[in-house]
């Protein structure tokens, strides 16, 4: 009796213990979707791509979300601080240090996080068998464009940067910096492919996802950074001649949502807020100066009757600084009035003008510059002297593109004028300040990275 109890008990227990290994199978979390499922339908694949745009504007101001306009403007001779402060002063005094947290997070971490998303989506699109070719090409084109835009500015800011083009973290963790030319060629390759993949029509409403013309407009920009003016001229012409875009007569409307001039805009996440630029450049409240002001030398390059003076506003109470930049007009959270404008038609005229000077099409160049001057309401140029035209082009770029994507800073560097101009304007200028420091932490984590000279 006793034994039979024992035996049955032991066997029951043993059976119980051996069974149900499937107990540890769990339900998937509602907060996740497996990669293979994301890229089976157009709608979810688009959601992954839209996630990239929302992410690009989440951190403010990050590399492609206003940081170039503000930080590079401060580093150049465009902008200055109204009071010394820990965030802006190191840029303004060209005294960045490798431990600078803004450079580290906003200008390095956020871009590389975005690049991963582009790479991951590109790989998944490539593997997806069920997505229709049309949407697949469009999304691939968008992601190549976004990736290229990041590398264009990473190379501009830091020089040699790791060129990560896939999601293999084992090898990517050990990539050193690639030569600037190599990165720029990759940018051009990506943008070329994007321009072939993307349709002329925008995906979805408005202009908040790039189309073929956006790819070409950015390609034109990439060409002038690479010094390839012949190609820049061709591509800029294609954008101008497409006749999809026009210069807006009232300069206050240039950056409005869906303005005729903009080629690509990025909406803020959750459709709240306005631009990061406005947050730094506009007065925070009545009677208070904005943190970042235009330099007196910038204000001085505008003629009194230049309509672009509407991009400045004066406020008596500010005191010693008379004007602030009013190019981006809204900083309220109450309504979204302006999106981040990545590229617009006016820049294409200036790119073409510069390229035409390089190829000695001086009449064409003059005509392009005059398009911009006409809109600004100032005298058109009559000269056909190459040096004078180049000087005029430089002035025009400075005026037209104030506080926009760091144009002034990168122009001075690519024209080889940074040391002359900034050396004169800024007491602490050093030639090595033309490149920003690679973040210190990344040098620790990746022994293959090398610091730029001077840091």
């Amino acid at each position: 009796m006793k034994n039979s109890i024992k035996i049955s008990l032991w066997s029951a227990v043993s059976a119980m213990l051996m069974s149900c290994e499937s107990f540890v199978d769990i339900n998937p979390s509602p907060q996740m979707m497996e990669s293979k499922d994301v890229f089976t339908t157009g709608r979810t694949a688009e959601a992954a791509v839209d996630g990239v745009y929302a992410f690009m504007r989440t951190s403010s101001p990050s590399l492609l979300n206003g940081a170039l306009s503000i930080y590079c403007g401060l580093a150049a001779d465009e902008l200055q601080v109204s009071s010394e402060n820990e965030l802006y002063s190191p840029f303004y005094h060209n005294a960045l240090q490798s431990g600078n947290s803004t450079v580290s997070y906003q200008l390095w971490d956020v871009p590389y996080q975005t690049i991963y998303r582009c790479n991951s989506i590109l790989e998944q699109l490539d593997m997806s068998a069920s997505l229709p070719a049309g949407i697949k090409h469009t999304l691939a084109g968008e992601m190549k464009l976004v990736r290229a835009l990041h590398y264009m500015y990473l190379a501009n800011l830091f020089g040699k940067v790791p060129l990560v083009l896939n999601t293999d973290y084992e090898t990517n963790a050990k990539l050193g910096g690639s030569a600037i030319d190599e990165v720029r060629q990759q940018v051009i390759r990506d943008l070329r492919e994007a321009s072939n993949l993307l349709p002329e029509a925008y995906r979805g409403v408005g202009k908040i996802r790039p189309n073929k013309w956006a790819a070409l407009a950015l390609l034109a920009r990439a060409y002038i950074y690479a010094g390839e003016y012949t190609d820049a001229q061709v591509v800029a012409s294609a954008v101008i001649d497409a006749n999809e875009y026009g210069l807006v007569a009232d300069l206050q409307d240039v950056f409005g949502i869906n303005s005729a001039e903009t080629i690509w805009e990025i909406a803020p996440p959750n459709n709240t807020g306005n631009t990061a630029e406005a947050g730094a450049l506009l007065p925070p409240g009545a009677g208070a100066a904005p943190a970042v002001l235009p330099t007196p030398s910038l204000v001085a390059v505008f003629d009194a009757d230049d309509r672009r003076m509407r991009w400045f506003s004066s406020q008596e109470a500010i005191g010693q600084n008379e004007a602030y930049i009013n190019k981006y007009r809204y900083q309220t959270y109450d309504a979204t009035m302006e999106y981040l404008v990545v590229c617009r038609l006016a820049e294409q005229y200036l790119i073409r003008a510069e390229s035409r000077i390089q190829s000695r099409d001086l009449e064409g160049a003059r005509a392009d510059i005059n398009v911009i001057r006409l809109r600004a309401g100032i005298d058109t140029l009559t000269t056909l002297d190459e040096t004078l035209l180049m000087e005029a082009l430089r002035e025009e770029r400075r005026r037209e593109l104030i506080a926009e994507w760091g144009h002034r800073w990168f122009d001075l560097i690519r024209w080889g004028m940074a040391d002359d101009v900034l050396g004169a304007a800024k007491p602490g200028w050093k030639a090595t300040a033309a490149l920003f420091p690679i973040p210190y932490e990344q040098l620790l984590y990746n022994p293959y990275l090398t610091q730029n000279a001077g840091y």
């Binding site: 008990l9 290994e21 769990i26 010394e84 402060n85 240090q97 999601t167 925070p284 959270y333």
Partner: protein
């Protein structure tokens, strides 16, 4: 009959208290309201007095010497010395202390009860050898970090497994809160900051805490035993008679140690000198604080922000009793603490604990059931205001109309790079949280035969947390375009488990054999929702989510399942040779399908040498025991679903359309981490058990480490979950000595001292040079070691910090940070004494640590003295001023030039690490028990008055604020002083 009536009275009271606190819980949503909570405390205190009359008849039966330790009828310190009787809880089984083969430490309820702490873990300081306790923050509810025998995992997952009455505490490692609050700001090391789930436990409900340390004790917990196991056992009713016990304590807390900041004139000196050093003329652009602000103003921000005395109230009421076949215990508790930030109550906890044990007449069926409910509310600032004691003393706080100032001299503070510049704004931000924790457990055991029994243990744990934080317009920078906002979040964790067990025990002439076979199935589900509303039009609507102009919402849910089968075989030969083998096979849903199951096992043995003939006759030796064990345990402290290549919905939409984001880098092939543990100990008790000595050596080897491996961000993410080939060894010595002076004419003295000498070594790290950790870890050194610049002090010539230029290139680059520096604990322990004489009892506990840690210079590496608008600790006045000066602080500067750069290198140098050893008087408690003759006249059986102090003083040469949390700008542990009364009926 009478007894029943009394019981009924208690029951009615408990019911009322429960109802009251449920009401209060909803009241707590409104701004803190001390009334009802305090009322409960008072009621609970007065209740036993009212009941004393009914108890009158039974008073003679009360033993006069019964210690009124909050109903603690457990063993006292003296009892633990009588090892023969002491049954040690080893989780799935109990073992006689004399015969145990494993390394298990024990702290009894009395030791915990006499310490006025909010989190029971804070009462473990210096109590158990090998257990290192660090209080991260003095904010009520804040986390206490506990490490058993050192750090096994290089980076993540070093927390022990917490088990309360057999039920694993859901998410014990994770902070309860989803929204930011002051408890969430940990010190520099920032481990598990947030509201600790253990702060929901009432320390007075705890009968004992057992700490399982070695493989023999922990292998039966298999995959979760690698970092040791903390078994918390709640009180049980043991007496046959009805006993009512009530206690009330009230007191005050202040920060234990902090540093003084510069006064107004001193700050002025610093700033002016900084400008003079740089050769820059102060102007309204570069020095608004000097040119535009009122430099005669002086706000002592330390006093303003953390200078409030924090109140402490604690009330306990317990009823226990039973009959021959049953016993029960019901206790209610109330606890509140305010913060040093603000006088309002910050943390309140209500608890109800009940327990019953029943057995049948044949004594072969036993049921043990316990149920604990606690509800806590936290009303904390959103930030730890200690962060802001470095605010410039000239900062204008109020406008003329009394509203908070956000500018001075026409320059908004935000233009100066000062975010949250006016720290008083945090007083207008509100955060409150209500937590509910329910733990229920039920054990049914049935003795089939004399030798064979079955047992089923079931348990559940529910943790709920509802949080609400509000940023009204009065807390928002007037110069920001941000509108009022509010966050609402809640989370629910539900865990259950079932554990059937079969026990077999035989006694034979040669000795004893016991076997145990069991299984466990555990499930844990977590759900959470968090909504953020912004763009409110009015502060009055911040309680409404629908009033928000913009809402962003997220929710989450995950599931964790775990199953194991375990067995134990214990053989005791002639009460002399004991062998113990335990094993476990575990499966965890946290691993991919191929790696889900793993086996763990351990073997232990003990030799009771004193039972051998050659020692048996030695009269002064009671026990000499040699024991040892070896085994393998594991660790699965990683997140759920990590093995799935997954995307998650984005927090933000894009023009109204939903978005998806990649969740993490994908690694499907990670598997179990293993930890091999070796333990050897010699134990003895001498001179009629009055002296107990134990010397223990351990060596744990952990490899195949599972961790979040840091990657350069160019890979897209900052880390990946993967196994590391590195090997970590923790070894050390633990010594414990107890001494009990024989009682002489009413004088009793017992004393215990313990000492741990840990040594942590990274033994091997293949391919480290090309990994992300080339400067983070050093092979042959401890895990706290990294490569740093070698600090040479302030150069008397240039007045700047200088460091060793290792590669001789004339510049300080990464290549110069090659000098290992450690922040190790070299030795720690505790020393406690209990002296009683007649009606007085005095207990004093010290704990000590010899360690290196971060000093005050760490703060100066990120906030450069003289630069911009931050105040500094007074110590910066010892700065370099002119060539030839020998000074600990370099010259002041205002620009990001070379001086600034040398300053920022401090944090990457060994200058910020120095001796942080301390001896802390952790607890002093003095109690006076009224003589039985007096109390009996008053109709009660015991009345005791007491004074208790926690963290009373610290002896240290530490350069900084508090050597325990080592961060100037995080609230240090508090010094608490309470008065209390206890009544037993």
């Amino acid at each position: 009959m009478k007894r029943n009536l009394r019981l009924w009275g208690c029951y009615a009271f408990i019911q009322k208290a429960t109802k009251d606190f449920l009401c209060v819980q909803t009241l707590a949503q409104a701004p803190a309201h001390p009334g009802p909570g305090l009322a409960i405390g008072v009621i609970m205190f007065l209740m036993p007095l009212a009941m004393s009359h009914t108890a009158h008849a039974r008073q003679q039966h009360q033993a006069a010497d019964r210690v009124a330790g909050s109903g603690d009828t457990s063993r006292t310190m003296k009892d633990t010395l009588l090892l023969e009787e002491v049954q040690i809880n080893a989780g799935y089984y109990t073992v006689k202390d004399r015969e145990r083969t494993g390394s298990i430490g024990r702290v009894d309820g009395k030791t915990i009860a006499r310490q006025p702490v909010g989190n029971p873990l804070a009462a473990l300081h210096g109590q158990v050898p090998g257990v290192e306790v660090t209080q991260q923050s003095g904010v009520p509810g804040g986390n206490v970090v506990l490490r058993i025998r050192g750090q096994n995992s290089m980076l993540n997952g070093n927390d022990p497994l917490y088990i309360i009455d057999g039920v694993p505490l859901s998410a014990a490692q994770n902070p309860l809160n989803q929204l930011n609050n002051a408890a969430g700001e940990g010190a520099i090391s920032n481990i598990g900051a947030g509201i600790s789930p253990l702060s929901l436990l009432n320390p007075a409900d705890i009968q004992s805490i057992e700490v399982l340390k070695d493989a023999d004790a922990t292998a039966i917990y298999g995959s979760r035993g690698a970092n040791g196991v903390i078994l918390i056992t709640t009180k049980k009713g043991v007496e046959e008679r009805l006993a009512v016990n009530a206690g009330f304590r009230t007191g005050l807390s202040t920060p234990a140690r902090s540093m003084d900041m510069l006064s107004g004139p001193q700050y002025l000196t610093m700033r002016k000198e900084a400008f003079a050093n740089d050769g820059i003329e102060p102007s309204s652009t570069n020095a608004p604080d000097l040119m535009l602000w009122d430099t005669t103003r002086y706000t002592d921000f330390k006093d303003l922000l953390i200078g409030q005395g924090a109140r402490y109230n604690d009330a306990q009421l317990s009823i226990s009793g039973g009959s021959a076949r049953s016993s029960y215990l019901i206790s209610g508790s109330y606890h509140d603490e305010s913060t040093v930030f603000d006088a309002e109550v910050a943390h309140r906890r209500y608890g109800l604990h009940s327990q019953a044990t029943l057995r049948n007449g044949a004594n072969n069926l036993r049921v043990n059931s316990s149920f604990t409910v606690s509800s806590a509310s936290n009303a904390l600032p959103v930030r730890d205001l200690t962060r802001y004691i470095k605010t410039s003393p000239f900062l204008r706080l109020y406008n003329d109309d009394g509203s908070l100032a956000w500018e001075n001299g026409g320059i908004p503070y935000r233009n100066l790079g000062l975010q949250n510049a006016n720290p008083l704004a945090f007083r207008n931000q509100e955060y409150d949280a209500t937590q509910l924790n329910i733990i229920g457990q039920n054990t049914v055991s049935y003795l089939l035969t004399q030798e064979l029994s079955v047992l089923v243990n079931t348990g559940f744990n529910v943790v709920r947390n509802d949080e609400h934080s509000r940023n009204p317009s009065t807390s928002i920078d007037a110069f920001s375009s941000t509108r009022p906002s509010a966050s609402f979040s809640n989370s629910r964790t539900v865990g259950w488990m079932v554990e059937p067990q079969v026990n077999y025990h035989v006694q034979r002439p040669w000795g004893e054999l016991s076997a145990l076979l069991g299984a466990t199935w555990q499930h844990q589900g977590m759900e959470s929702t968090s909504n953020n509303g912004s763009n409110y039009s009015s502060d009055l609507l911040l309680g409404s989510l629908s009033a928000a102009g913009n809402i962003s919402a997220r929710n989450n849910a995950n599931e964790y399942r775990y199953q194991g089968t375990y067995a134990r075989l214990n053989v005791n030969v002639r009460r002399r040779y004991i062998f113990n083998i335990t094993g476990r096979r575990d499966g965890s849903s946290r691993f991919g399908p191929e790696n889900r199951f793993a086996n763990f096992a351990a073997a232990g043995a003990a030799w009771l040498i004193s039972e051998e003939a050659f020692l048996r006759q030695v009269p002064w030796i009671s026990l000499v025991k040699l024991r040892g064990s070896f085994g393998v345990t594991g660790n699965d402290q990683i997140g759920d679903y990590q093995y799935v290549d997954r995307w998650t919905p984005g927090y933000s939409s894009y023009v109204g359309l939903s978005t998806l984001l990649p969740a993490a880098l994908y690694n499907p092939s990670y598997n179990w981490e293993r930890n091999r543990k070796l333990d050897v100990a010699l134990e003895g008790r001498l001179l009629n058990e009055s002296i107990g000595v134990s010397v223990n050596y351990f060596r744990n080897v952990s490899d195949n480490q599972l961790m979040l491996y840091t990657l350069p961000i160019q890979t897209g993410f900052a880390s990946i979950l993967r196994n590391m080939p590195a090997t970590v060894i923790n070894k050390g010595w633990e010594v414990q000595i107890n001494y009990d002076l024989p009682v002489r004419s009413g004088f009793r003295w017992s004393s215990a001292v313990n000492l741990s000498i840990p040594r942590n070594t990274l033994a091997d790290f293949p391919d480290q040079a090309s990994s992300s950790y080339r400067s983070r870890f050093v092979v042959g050194k401890s895990l706290s070691t990294d490569l740093r610049y070698r600090y040479l002090g302030v150069d008397p010539g240039s007045g700047m910090y200088h460091y060793v230029d290792a590669d001789g290139d004339g510049e300080y680059t990464v290549a110069d940070a090659v000098f290992p520096a450690s922040r190790d604990t070299y030795l720690f322990g505790g020393f406690s004494n209990t002296v009683s004489y007649r009606q007085f009892e005095l207990g004093i506990t010290f704990d000590f640590k010899k360690q290196d840690g971060y000093n005050y210079m760490y703060g100066m590496g990120s906030t450069i003295p003289g630069y911009r608008y931050s105040n500094q600790p007074v110590i910066v006045l010892q700065r370099w001023q002119q060539p030839g000066d020998i000074a600990p602080v370099q010259k002041f500067t205002t620009v990001t030039g070379e001086v600034y750069r040398r300053g920022t290198l401090l944090n990457s140098s060994d200058a910020v690490i120095s001796d942080a050893s301390f001896i802390r008087c952790r607890n002093v408690s003095l109690a006076y028990s009224f003589p039985a003759t007096l109390t009996q006249r008053a109709g009660i059986s015991g009345l005791r008055l007491m004074v208790q102090g926690q963290n009373l003083f610290t002896v240290t040469g530490y350069k900084g604020a508090d050597p325990e949390n080592q961060d100037l700008y995080v609230l240090p542990p508090l010094k608490t002083f309470v008065l209390g009364i206890e009544i037993t009926i």
